[in-house]
Each structure stands twice: as structure tokens, then as C-alpha cells.
């Protein structure tokens, strides 16, 4: 295994650059990274400007693998839909994904995911955090780990964002021991953005800048007497807030041309993907988009007909857009869900929860394009080849963006392995 294998996108120098930044920055945040999180060997070179991003599309509720990534021809349980060819010879997906099928050359499929939990909440947490949450232990979600791993010191935006459509969002609680700094911030795609990013009513820009000058004066007096990394982190957070306020328009998708907005579509999902693309352009480390409602215990096929269609076109366009703008080579896109659906069809034409054999799709940075990992039997009951679970996947996603998933976080003297140390990535999925 050479270092190059871990750097499928960008150059080897990114890791170094970020590593140097991080060293300074994490000290500033009051936490000191004991070991480098990056798998790259240290090399000399100019500081790269490119950064990686991860976009997770979370299909909440559990999409059916049969009606998406792992169609079965078995008439009894495979459902009414046919499978179609994709842009990669030999790979077939459900006919419900005609546009995404044409992007398969940017993508990879894992058809052999096998987990234990069939409860929505628990399974959701399982795939997000890559580990089983025991009652006494909570693990940070992928977004928090990536935000921490790909952190840069002067970055004005939050590193871990979940998108929403209207309204303004706040900070969530999903970073566990990494701390609230890495927890997700909800960002509205339309006239909202982030809470408190607008000046108080009646305050002019002039008055605002006057009070900040005074604040800086008070801080400089303080700093001339004593210094600490924590003090600097605190004063910096105000400057970061100001930069964030200046960039409020980043969160406003109406800044895009009509053509672009049309191409993404007017659905909530399309709007959030467009916001995600804007954030990827800004090199935000982690963005999550939720697409909820995939829990079809009844009328599975009718619902999938509509839901997959709602997903397919905007998602395919998102990949095309990223690729055309040269963003896909530094962006990992993952289509997640919490479990699959049963091979059997119940009395209400539905499919129930089925964690034993299901699929996940990914695209872009760090993964082997056109790869299909594992397989299931003819009816999709059992995994027949290369059984993997949430733990392998978690390692894989981190490695794909150059984070060494086998190292540890050192949080104020407490040590935490980044991913389950007894497992490793799916090597053949990595580019």
C-alpha cells in the first residue's frame, strides 16, 4: 500500500498544508491533536488551495435496494420494475433511476451491506457514527469527524452543515466528545441562512463597526497583559462571525441564475442540492441533505415511483454540475440510508425493514469509479459476497478524503479511536 493510494484526488500536499494549519488551529481551540489525522506522508510543496468536501444525501426511513441500486429479476419478490443499463457496461440499476444511471461512471455501489439494527433511530445512528452506540458511549457522527479532520484555521463558514429549505437553523448535538465546535449547523437555502447572522434591528453598519473597533481595543489591552490560546480562539470567533455575516448571500440560492435553478428543479431536494453545490464551492468540509419519508410498509412500489423520481433528476444533475465545475474530483458524495427493505412483499404491497442485506451508493472523490462491491443472492435475502457493515463504511469514507481512520483523537487528555479500531476500510472501493 503506497501513500498515493490514499490520495485519489488533489495532490499529496493538501494533507501537509492542512496538517500545518491544523496544528496551529487546534491549539487555538484548546484541544491539541496528539497525532496527525492524515494518512499522507509529510512532503514538501506549496500550500494547496483546494480542499475536500463530503456531501451526504441521507434517504431517511430506508430506501428499498430493490427499487434502486440492487434490482432483482425474481418476479415474486423483485417487484414490478425492470432493471436498466447504466453508463458503466455490466452495471444495472432500477429503471426508476434513468438519469442517475447515466452518471454511474462517477459512482460506485456497495451491494453487500449487512447490519443488525432494524429500528430507525438506532440504525440511523449506527450508519452515521460508524459504531454501535452502547448506552454509555456516544460517538461523533461522520460530519463532525470530517469537520474536525478537514478543518482549516481561517475558514469563515461552519465545517459541518445540514441543509434545510426555509427558516434559520441552530447548532445540533452530534459531535459527542469532539465538542460543539464540530456539531452540525442547520442552514436554510432560502432567505434564512444561519440564526443571528443579521444585525440587530435598527443597528447600522457604521455603528456595528464602531462597537467592534472598541471591542478590539479592549481585547488588545487584555492581550497586551496576558495571552492564551483559548483567549485567541474566543476573540477569533467574533471575527469569524463577522466574515460569516458578510457571506450570508452564500446561503441564498436565489443568487443563482434562473437556468441553474431550473436545472436543479424547484423541489425542496433540488434546492438543497443547489445550496450544497454552493457550499462545496466554498470548500465546506461536510454537508448533509436529508430526503425524508422512505418508510414504505404499504404501497412500496407506488411510493418508490414518486420518491425515486424526486431523487433521480436533481441528484443526477448535481453530479453533472459538480463534474463540470471540476468539483467532483475533490468531493465525495454518499447516498446513505439506515437499512434496506425486505425481499418479501407484505400484504399491503409494502416492504418492511431489512438490515441483513442492503446497498449504499457513492460518487466522486476517493472512490473507485464504476466499482460494485459485493453481491446478494438471486432474491436478495443474503449477502453472498464481501459482507461489510457500518464500521467498514465509516473507515472507507474517511480514507476516501484522506483522513487516517486508524488514528486517535486526543481530546484534552482523553483518547478516542477515530473509527472502530478492530475494522478497516473496504480497500477495493478506494481509488
Amino acid at each position: 500500500m503506497t501513500g498515493n493510494q490514499y490520495t485519489p484526488c488533489g495532490t499529496i500536499d493538501h494533507g501537509l498544508a492542512r496538517r500545518q494549519f491544523m496544528g496551529e488551529f487546534l491549539t487555538g481551540a484548546g484541544t491539541i491533536a496528539g497525532t496527525s489525522l492524515f494518512s499522507h506522508p509529510i512532503g514538501a510543496g506549496e500550500i494547496a488551495r483546494q480542499s475536500r468536501s463530503v456531501v451526504v444525501v441521507f434517504l431517511n426511513g430506508g430506501i428499498s435496494q430493490f427499487e434502486s441500486w440492487d434490482p432483482k429479476s425474481d418476479l415474486e419478490t423483485g417487484g414490478p420494475f425492470r432493471s436498466i443499463a447504466t453508463s458503466v457496461p455490466g452495471i444495472h440499476v432500477s429503471e426508476l433511476l434513468p438519469r442517475t444511471a447515466q452518471q454511474m461512471h462517477h459512482m460506485a455501489l456497495v451491494r453487500s451491506v449487512s447490519t443488525d439494527l432494524d429500528d430507525h433511530g438506532l440504525a440511523n445512528n449506527l450508519v452515521r457514527s460508524g459504531r454501535m452506540t452502547r448506552s454509555a458511549t456516544e460517538y461523533p457522527e461522520l460530519g463532525a469527524v470530517v469537520a474536525r479532520g478537514l478543518e482549516r484555521p481561517d475558514f469563515p463558514l461552519p465545517g459541518h452543515i445540514t441543509t434545510m429549505v426555509g427558516g434559520v437553523g441552530g447548532r445540533a448535538n452530534n459531535a459527542a466528545y469532539l465538542g460543539p465546535r464540530y456539531a452540525s449547523v442547520a442552514v436554510g437555502a432560502e432567505n434564512g441562512g444561519i440564526v443571528n447572522t443579521q444585525l440587530p434591528e435598527g443597528m447600522t453598519v457604521a455603528v456595528d463597526s464602531r462597537r467592534h473597533d472598541w471591542r478590539r481595543f479592549v481585547n488588545s489591552r487584555h492581550r497586551s497583559r496576558v495571552q492564551s490560546a483559548e483567549m485567541d480562539a474566543y476573540t477569533q470567533s467574533y471575527e469569524q462571525a463577522l466574515r460569516l455575516m458578510e457571506r450570508r448571500e452564500l446561503f441564498d440560492i436565489s443568487q443563482e441564475t434562473d437556468t441553474v435553478q431550473q436545472a436543479y428543479g424547484k423541489s425542496e431536494f433540488g434546492k438543497q442540492l443547489l445550496l450544497a453545490r454552493r457550499l462545496v464551492e466554498q470548500e465546506v468540509p461536510f454537508i448533509e441533505i436529508q430526503h425524508a419519508g422512505w418508510d414504505f410498509h404499504h404501497n412500496n412500489f407506488e411510493f418508490h415511483l414518486h420518491y425515486v423520481a424526486d431523487f433521480d433528476s436533481p441528484f443526477a444533475h448535481f453530479l453533472t454540475d459538480l463534474a463540470q465545475r471540476g468539483l467532483l474530483e475533490r468531493t465525495l458524495v454518499i447516498v446513505m440510508t439506515e437499512f434496506g427493505r425486505t425481499p418479501s412483499i407484505n400484504a399491503g404491497y409494502g416492504r418492511d425493514h431489512y438490515p441483513k442485506a442492503w446497498s449504499i451508493a457513492a460518487a466522486g472523490c476517493g472512490i473507485q469509479h464504476g466499482a460494485v462491491i459485493g453481491s446478494t443472492d438471486a432474491k436478495g435475502v443474503e449477502v453472498t459476497d464481501r459482507k461489510v457493515d457500518h464500521r467498514h463504511l465509516f473507515h472507507t469514507w474517511l480514507r476516501a478524503v484522506g483522513i487516517d481512520s486508524s488514528s486517535q483523537f486526543d481530546i484534552g487528555g482523553r483518547k478516542f479511536p477515530i473509527a472502530d479500531p478492530a475494522f478497516g476500510p473496504i480497500e477495493e472501493l478506494l481509488a
Binding site: 481551540a29 452502547r134 472598541w214
Partner: protein
């Protein structure tokens, strides 16, 4: 409010403030004075390990803000600061006594109990909610106000089941964790013993050799019988029930094929409960057997045992953890840090100090105030945060040779400890063998007991079916007699004979079955007696286990002492090493500079790094004070009091008190009640206004350790733009903005501004700056005053304690 003319309002305020901050109790503390107060002994220990230049005590203003923040959770008000500075100015020679008077005054206020209730509540719940925060705080506040011992508070918290209304809040520790046995086990380990044994749940701790899987299961065995019981008859409120179940077994996930071990209820340091009584029938084990609508109450409650053992003065892990956590609350850093990582790989900055603190905490009968008073009086607590001038320091007397000599001595002392440790190790192995033997005897008896119980159950079942059969035969017999009687009356000879034959067969069966039943009855009695005898025997043998654990505990105690000595030697060695490296770095740089070598720049950078390391080592050993962020509660209280939002509340509450009570300044009790009424009103108002908003942004999420610092953009955005926050900056009701508006003279305004928000006097440059800003913005004076206040509130000086 608005009808009161201004001068009278001011007078009223002053009177109330004087009243509010009167010492709550004039009762003298009757603690027998030890030869040397704890504060001196703390300093004596820390002075011996500090090899750097002496660090001065902090200035008066820093002291004053620091002590207010640490004891009552807020900064001093402008009046309090002005009064303190005046006293120092009048009698600068009495500085130490004036400082001690401030410490004593704060400790005697009801505000102290109120703030420490928050500190302890956050420590116990880590912001998990179920039993409400306020309810839990009120319980602790009352406890502290009554000056009851801290260890007994901890006992109540582990013992409470939520049924007693007066103690219900105490059950919050377990209720807020849904009585989840693994979570409760981990957090008892962390919060009561300072040991995070979570990873020992599935195997021996991978990183920490001290934490064995048996330790995890030792605690778990005390709590795994406790469960959440929701009472439909009492509004679906949750309570704690307890079952009496078979012992826990565990196996390592790394060695799944190895025989499983039976978990013994034992706490760290071999602290175990008495031999556990046995019962003949499972139902005998209960006062109330658990059912769907009945809360289980065992005759012998393991959790009650835990409550006593966990908080017992003989429990060193408990004492050390509590002393360390209180020290950390005052110093911003534990003697062991992080505070839940007591183990040999993470030695205390000074084991001697930790030992002393734990010992004195016990000696004070776990009296919070006297313990904190001594810490606050120590030079260690009163040190400056300023880094001493290293340019003009030549290293410790004797220089490097003296340090090298120290290292040699340390190595010799270290070597001298080894034989004792080896011997103790052997003793411990021997004791472990004894324990194992005693445990094996008990286990054998347990097997016999289990067998006897099984047989008893079988025989009882057989007995039941035999008795049923006997009843059947009796019934047939009775019917047969009736038949014979009726045949006799009917003089039906032929059938009578046949019936008599059947009867005699039934007679025979009846005799046989009666015998069977009778015999089984004897067997049952015999077995019950046997079980009783075995149970008594097991109890008696259990005494040997208890004794063996006592021996182990004794050895561990001596071992701990040796390990403390060892830890201190290695810590001192590493500190000397750091100092020597710094000296060496500086020498090399001086030489290079003398010879104008080109390496100077590189060496100078190297020296800087060494210097950082050196200063950090001094901070870790409490020679220099660390600059500390305010905790979320301090941040909200400090904001609230800086903006003087308490003033109108005090006025209103006092009026309300006067309208319903007769005021009598001569009656101490009356004064106290009024003080309590007013402080309660302020606390409630603080909670309703500032606390929630600020804590939401500044506190770590529920269930996470609450001692980490983080600065996030949403905090800054809230302070900059949040409408509620901006609302507090509007002039109203005698708050700070209104008070400043009324001051015409810029210098006076600057003084009041700085006193109120930063608890210090402004220097001439700062006065000038305020003056200039007021001049520039003369047309919008109120806005400028708001900006001035905002700038100080948003500053790093406000966010941190020096």
C-alpha cells in the same frame, strides 16, 4: 417603581445591598485548628516542587473578580469592588486580612450555596434532564445551606428511589440516566471515583492497565438490579425499583472461550459489602415483590449497600475524586487532570497534594466551606496568571549541577522504593489467592444451594401433583361411600358387593397416596432445613471473603502510598528534565550570540519552544495560575450582574417582602429570611432572563464532560445580534445603562463602566478612549454607552478569569 423619586431609590438600593450581602451567619466555626492550616500545607508541598522563580500573588482587582466568580459564580458589583478597593487603600498593610475577610464573607452568603448547588448539580447530571435542573439544584442548595456533609449528600444521591418527596430530586442522578445500568455504572465510576472504566465493559481497558473488567462489573453488580418503575397511580412518575436476581456473569470479548467470571459487587480498592444473606424461597428475598404495578423492594438492597460503601470515609477513590473535583472547580485544573482519569498512566501533578487534600476533606467531615476556604486562602489559589520574567532569571540556585544532583537523588529514592513495591505485590498475590480460596468455598456452597433449591422445586412440584391426586382419590372414596350407602338402602346385594370391592381398592390407594404425600412433606421440610443450613454456612464462609478483602484493602492502601511516592518522584524528574533542557537551550543560544553564529535564529526558536514547555509545566504544578474561561453559569451570572439587571429585582422583592412582613433589623433571623427572599427573587429572575440563553450557547451538550472550553461562531453571533441579548442593553429600571446615562462626567462614567463590567478601575488610556468615544458620538449618547458596555461584555477579559 417609577413613582419613587431618584434620590430615595438610591438610598433604598444601598440599604438593600448592605442588607443583602451581610454575612448569613455570625456563628463561629468550631473546627479544632490543626497545628498548621491546610492552606499553608498546600503551599508547603507546592513550594518544594517548584524550581522556577517565585511567582507573585495576583493583584487586588484580579483577586476580587476571581474570588467572586469562584465562590458565588459572578463578578463583583461596582459597589462591592469600590468598597474593596477603598478598604485596601485605607490599610494596604492589611491586604492579606482584607482578602481573607472577603473569602469568609462570600462563603457565609446564601449566594454561595446557590452557586455551588449549580456547580454540583452540573457535576452530577452533566446536564441530563428528567428530574428538573431547578429541582435538583434546590435540593443541593438546601443541603449546603444547612451545612451538611458532602459525602452524605452523595450517599443520598445513590440511595434515593424517588418515593420520598423530600429526597426525590436526589434520585435524579440515576433517574436522569433512565436507570440504564451501564450508563449508571460508567458515571458512578467517573463522577464518584474519578475513574472512566467504560472501555472495561467488554474487556480489560485497552489503554489503562489499572481498569479491569472485574472493576466495571464490580460496580455494575451493585446497580444492575435497579430499574425504572413508572407508577400509573402516581401520574406515571418514574421511580427506582430493585430486583433480587442471579449474579452477573461476564467474559472478555477478546477471550470468548475462556470460562466466564461471576461478577462480585466490589468497588475500586477492594471495598466490598458484607456477605449477602440468602433466602429459602425466591419470594422471601422481597419486602415487596416486583410486579407490573408494584415497585420491587428487596429485603437486601445492593444499591443501598453501594450508597454507603461508595461514600464511606474509608473509600479512598471517593475521597480523592471529590477533593480533586473541588480543587479543579477552584483552580480550573485538577491535581489529576482530566478529573475522571485517575490511573497510573495519568499521575497527579502532586500525589502528596492529592493525598493531603483527600485527608483534610475527610478530617473536615466533608465540610464544603472550610475546604474551599483553605484552598482560597492558599498562595496557590491566589497566584498571578502572569508568566515571570525569564530573561532575568538564571535558573535555580546551584544551576545545572544542582539539578543533576537532584536527579541522582531521585533515582536513588526511586530504587529504594522498589523492594517495598515488589514485596507488596507479592503480598497482594498471596492475598488474592486467599480471596480466591474463600470465594471458591462460597461458590461451591452456592452450587449446593442452587442444587438443593432445584430439588426442592422438583419435589414441591411432585408434592403438588401427588396432593392433587390424593384429593382426587379422596373424592372418589367419598363418592364410593355414598354409593355403598345408597345401595345398602336399596338392598341391592349384588351391586353392593362389587361396590365394596371397589371401595377396598380405593382404601388401599388412599393409604398409599397418603403415605406418598406425607413422605414428600418430610422431604420438603428436610430440604428447607438443608437450604437454611447451607445459607447460614455460606454466610459464615462469606465472612472469610470479607476478611480476605479487608487484607487486600490494607495492602492496596500501603501500595497506594508507595505508588504516590513513586509518581511524585517521576513527576519531579520530568519537571527537572524540562528545566534542564530550557537552561541548556538558553546557554547554547547565548554562546551562539556571543560568537555571532548564524544558528542564532534557529536556536532562539528552539528556546521559545522550551520556554512554552517550561511555563506549561509550572502551570500544571500550580506555580502559575491558569487563565480560565468562565463556566456557563458564571458567564450568565456575570452578564446579568454586570448589566445590573438585579437592581430592579431587588427593589421589587424588597417592597414585596415589606408588604407582607414586619421588618426588624435587630432580629437576625428576620434579616436572614429577608435576605433569602430577595436572593431567591434575583436567582429566579436570572434563570428566567439570561441563564437559559447563555447556557444553551456556552455549555457542552447533555451527557458530555462539562469542563471543556470551546468558542463557536454561534456564541459570537448571539452576543452580536440576538434580539433578546440586545434587549438587555436598553436602559430600564435602574440597570447599568440607565445608571451610566445619568453620569455626566466622562471619567466617572468610564470608572463606573469598568467597575461594573470588568470589576476594575480603568487606566488613563482607557479613560481617554471612553472620553473620545463619548465626544465623537455626543449626538447619540445612549447608543455609545450601549456600545461601550457591549464591547466590554464581548471582550476576552470578560469571558476569562485572571
Amino acid at each position: 417603581m417609577n413613582t419613587i423619586p431618584q434620590p430615595r431609590l438610591l438610598f433604598l438600593l444601598l440599604a438593600i445591598l448592605a442588607l443583602l450581602f451581610l454575612p448569613a451567619s455570625a456563628v463561629a466555626q468550631h473546627t479544632p485548628a490543626p497545628a498548621e492550616p491546610l492552606s499553608h500545607r498546600i503551599d508547603a508541598i507546592l513550594n518544594t516542587i517548584h524550581l522556577g522563580p517565585p511567582v507573585p500573588l495576583t493583584g487586588d482587582a484580579e483577586f476580587h473578580r476571581r474570588i467572586y466568580l469562584d465562590l458565588v459564580g459572578r463578578g463583583p458589583t461596582a459597589e462591592e469592588s469600590a468598597e474593596f478597593f477603598r478598604r485596601i487603600e485605607t490599610a494596604p498593610a492589611d491586604r492579606a486580612a482584607i482578602r481573607e475577610a472577603v473569602i469568609d464573607d462570600l462563603l457565609s452568603r446564601s449566594e454561595f450555596s446557590r452557586y455551588y448547588a449549580k456547580v454540583l448539580e452540573v457535576m452530577f447530571t452533566e446536564r441530563r434532564e428528567n428530574i428538573g435542573t431547578l429541582e435538583f439544584r434546590e435540593f443541593i442548595r438546601r443541603w449546603l445551606a444547612e451545612r451538611r456533609p458532602l459525602n452524605e449528600l452523595c450517599t443520598e444521591i445513590l440511595a434515593a428511589d424517588g418515593t420520598d418527596e423530600d429526597f426525590r430530586a436526589a434520585a435524579g442522578f440515576i433517574l436522569n440516566r433512565q436507570a440504564d445500568p451501564n450508563l449508571v455504572t460508567r458515571d458512578i465510576g467517573r463522577i464518584f471515583f474519578g475513574r472512566d472504566i467504560q472501555c472495561a465493559q467488554c474487556h480489560d481497558h485497552p489503554l489503562v492497565a489499572d481498569y479491569e473488567q472485574s472493576e466495571y462489573f464490580g460496580i455494575l453488580s451493585f446497580v444492575n438490579r435497579t430499574y425504572l418503575f413508572t407508577d400509573e397511580k402516581r401520574g406515571n412518575k418514574p421511580f427506582l425499583g430493585e430486583k433480587s436476581e442471579a449474579p452477573l456473569e461476564f467474559a472478555s470479548v477478546f477471550r470468548p472461550t475462556a470460562p466466564r467470571s461471576i461478577a462480585q459487587p466490589v468497588l475500586p480498592m477492594s471495598l466490598a459489602m458484607d456477605a449477602e444473606p440468602d433466602f429459602v424461597d425466591p419470594t422471601d428475598a422481597y419486602l415487596v415483590a416486583p410486579e407490573k404495578d408494584k415497585r420491587g423492594v428487596p429485603r437486601y438492597s445492593r444499591r443501598q449497600q453501594l450508597a454507603v460503601l461508595a461514600t464511606h470515609p474509608e473509600n479512598h477513590a471517593f475521597n480523592r475524586n471529590l477533593a480533586n473535583r473541588l480543587w479543579a472547580a477552584m483552580m480550573g485544573q485538577g491535581v489529576v487532570h482530566p478529573v475522571d482519569m485517575h490511573h497510573s498512566e495519568n499521575p497527579p501533578a502532586s500525589a502528596a497534594l492529592l493525598r493531603l487534600l483527600a485527608h483534610e476533606l475527610v478530617a473536615s467531615q466533608y465540610d464544603l466551606r472550610s475546604f474551599l476556604r483553605q484552598i482560597a486562602r492558599s498562595h496557590a489559589w491566589q497566584r498571578s496568571v502572569m508568566v515571570p520574567d525569564l530573561q532575568n532569571w538564571d535558573g535555580p540556585p546551584g544551576g545545572k549541577p544542582a539539578l543533576a544532583e537532584m536527579l541522582t537523588q531521585i533515582d536513588a529514592q526511586h530504587a529504594a522504593l522498589l523492594p517495598t513495591l515488589t514485596q507488596l505485590d507479592q503480598e497482594l498475590s498471596a492475598a488474592a489467592e486467599q480471596l480466591q480460596k474463600a470465594q471458591a468455598d462460597v461458590s461451591r456452597l452456592q452450587t449446593q444451594l442452587d442444587d438443593a433449591r432445584k430439588r426442592l422445586q422438583q419435589i414441591s412440584e411432585q408434592h403438588n401433583s401427588d396432593s392433587a391426586k390424593l384429593t382426587q382419590i379422596r373424592d372418589s372414596h367419598t363418592r364410593q361411600l355414598q354409593l355403598i350407602e345408597s345401595l345398602r338402602t336399596a338392598q341391592n346385594e349384588a351391586e353392593l358387593n362389587a361396590a365394596n370391592e371397589v371401595k377396598s381398592s380405593l382404601d388401599q390407594q388412599l393409604d398409599q397416596q397418603e403415605e406418598v404425600v406425607e413422605n414428600a412433606g418430610y422431604k420438603i421440610e428436610g430440604l428447607r432445613n438443608r437450604i437454611l443450613a447451607l445459607a447460614n454456612r455460606k454466610l459464615a464462609l462469606g465472612e472469610f471473603v470479607v476478611e480476605a478483602r479487608g487484607v487486600q484493602r490494607g495492602i492496596r492502601k500501603r501500595m497506594l502510598q508507595q505508588m504516590d511516592l513513586q509518581a511524585d518522584l517521576s513527576q519531579q524528574k520530568s519537571r527537572i528534565g524540562i528545566l534542564m533542557q530550557w537552561l541548556e537551550s538558553r546557554n547554547r543560544l547565548e554562546q551562539a550570540q556571543a560568537s555571532e553564529s548564524s544558528q542564532s535564529a534557529e536556536l532562539s526558536a528552539g528556546l521559545e519552544l522550551r520556554e512554552t514547555e517550561l511555563v506549561e509545566s509550572w502551570r500544571q504544578s500550580f506555580a502559575i495560575r491558569r487563565i480560565r474561561p468562565l463556566n456557563p453559569e458564571q458567564m450568565s451570572s456575570a452578564t446579568y450582574f454586570a448589566l445590573e439587571m438585579h437592581r430592579p429585582v431587588i427593589v421589587r422583592a424588597t417592597e414585596e417582602w415589606r408588604s407582607g412582613n414586619h421588618e426588624n433589623p435587630a432580629d437576625h433571623d428576620n434579616v436572614l429570611r429577608q435576605q433569602e427572599f430577595v436572593t431567591t427573587a434575583v436567582a429566579v429572575n436570572l434563570w428566567d432572563t439570561v441563564e437559559d440563553l447563555v447556557v444553551t450557547r456556552f455549555a457542552a451538550p447533555a451527557g458530555a464532560p462539562q469542563d471543556s472550553f470551546f468558542a463557536t461562531v454561534d456564541q459570537a453571533l448571539m452576543i452580536q445580534n440576538d434580539a433578546t441579548f440586545q434587549g438587555w442593553l436598553k436602559a430600564s429600571d435602574g440597570n447599568l445603562i440607565q445608571r451610566l446615562e445619568a453620569i455626566a462626567e466622562p471619567e466617572q462614567l468610564a470608572i463606573q463602566l469598568y467597575l461594573a463590567v470588568l470589576a476594575r478601575m480603568p487606566d488613563p488610556d482607557e479613560v481617554q478612549m471612553v472620553h473620545d468615544l463619548l465626544l465623537q458620538g455626543a449626538s447619540e449618547r445612549t447608543a455609545v454607552i450601549q456600545e461601550l458596555v457591549w464591547g466590554l461584555l464581548a471582550s476576552s477579559e470578560f469571558r476569562f478569569s485572571m
